[in-house]
Subunit: 285 residues, 2 copies
């Protein structure tokens, strides 16, 4: 059973409350402008990307591996035992170290697409380099999927990500964790206007490709790609909205096995589709 928490810890440690309660966390993180990084590697990547540390919460065995970082965080380090972490966060934290980080202001889509800003500041590519390969995520709801897609995108050379207004948050704990910190490695911005979103991409000179399971669309590896390409990925259940499908320059698909379709296995999950699509964008150069 979790132990009672020392009331003196309640102040800064309130940042770590009930990490499994998605609704509570969404409002708490928005209100206080924070996010949670979990595990040594991810915490180090968040710090390296330039996010300020509000505090670190860890069990004693993580004090040594993180010593160099902790030395810079006087008064913001809380070493407590497993039961306290569990009592506070609501689950067993296997990676034994959590950091509450400050969010930073997001740049606009226009700033990201023009290369005038990067986000976070130390993400690749350097500010000033205009991204040529961009993913656009429309209304994904699953934080794990958003994180996994950032990991694919970063590993496979996608240079920026644009989120629809309602797309799940890349800095939510689970997104950050599943991405292995790739949300700190690739610049992103969020549209403020879903209706005008694709128009802004076209005005910036992007060819917009709408990924669909519809097998009558052009296979992705037969598309004649422009210098700047934005690949649109839709939500887990319904795929892209009909508006975006209609408005995009071209619907594109990943060819499926006809045998599998006969057996009802007629689509890939969004992460698998994103992985293949990012690989296709990189092959096309």
């Amino acid at each position: 059973m979790p132990e009672a928490i020392d009331p003196h810890l309640a102040g800064p440690l309130a940042d770590y409350a009930d990490l499994r309660d998605v609704e509570l966390r969404k409002s708490l993180e928005a209100e206080h402008g924070l996010f949670i990084a979990e595990g040594e590697k991810v915490i180090r990547r968040a710090v390296a990307a330039g996010y300020p540390v509000r505090s670190v919460l860890l069990t004693p065995r993580w004090a040594e591996p993180l010593a160099d970082l902790l030395d810079t965080l006087e008064g913001r380090v809380h070493i407590v035992d497993d039961a306290v972490v569990e009592g506070l966060t609501g689950f067993q934290v296997h990676r034994g170290a959590l950091a509450a980080m400050e969010r930073l202001p997001l740049p606009s889509v226009e700033e990201i697409l023009s290369g005038r800003a990067s986000f976070p500041e130390r993400a690749a590519p350097e500010p000033g380099i205009r991204p040529r390969r961009v993913l656009v995520l429309e209304d994904l709801v699953d934080h794990g999927n958003v994180g996994a897609i950032f990991r694919c995108a970063a590993a496979l050379g996608v240079e920026a990500v644009v989120l629809s207004p309602r797309c799940a948050d890349p800095l939510y704990r689970r997104s950050v964790k599943v991405s292995m910190g790739a949300v700190f490695a690739i610049p992103y911005a969020r549209m403020t206007d879903w209706y005008a979103g694709l128009a802004e991409l076209r005005e910036a000179g992007f060819q917009t490709l709408a990924l669909t399971p519809d097998q009558s669309a052009t296979p992705l590896d037969r598309v004649d790609m422009a210098d700047r390409v934005a690949l649109l990925l839709g939500s887990e259940g319904d795929g892209l909205s009909s508006r975006w499908l209609r408005e995009a320059d071209e619907p594109v698909c990943i060819p499926m096995s006809p045998t599998a379709m006969g057996l009802g296995v007629d689509s890939l999950n969004v992460v698998a589709a994103a992985a293949i699509a990012c690989h296709g964008l990189m092959r096309a150069g």
Copy 2:
């Protein structure tokens, strides 16, 4: 709070106990030769694949959509309310219908590779057709990953899957669920001998390709593929064993972005890698 369970239900309903307790479920399912299918679509696919139904447990609102199936299952249908399902299984079952299915005897690797058997019997391709594109999964531990890889494999025309002796079970509830039933659509078998496993593939005429994050390996899409290809995928943390890497005909990689590698995003997760690899196998024909 979950309600007390009617003791008259205890017999057949013991199949559904504590679905989140992985260790308990593993021994219970092995001992009784059963597995759990969750949700209307997946249950129908399990039945269509030829697995016998032990029983179905559902909430009242699922009786109507499943009526045609339930009519064939006299005495094996248990309609109970949400609280009873939650009390029994240990969690809220969002898809409202669970089926306990009989496992069937697995064929041997040799039978699968020669096309003399399919598993389950009604998976594609038809028995008699020798598979040319095969995935081999070494010691994957995460059931969700196994399910997601089956889904990719089935959708992208991989014709059989071979599991290492210690690889996670494709019929575990979470594998089945994440696969969306693809574990019923693609034949598979489990090696009995890890040491001799690759020799058996070679004897059957398969070129063995070992997927590795090592960027000095041949990029997958530059490999000169033989008529029969077996792609080896390693476990989530450590990748392929050094023995299999050494013994395979060729190490192959998915090229990563050099920029991302500089930022520490130096690998794909196993599902993303599998998706790209299956797509590559299909492209190579």
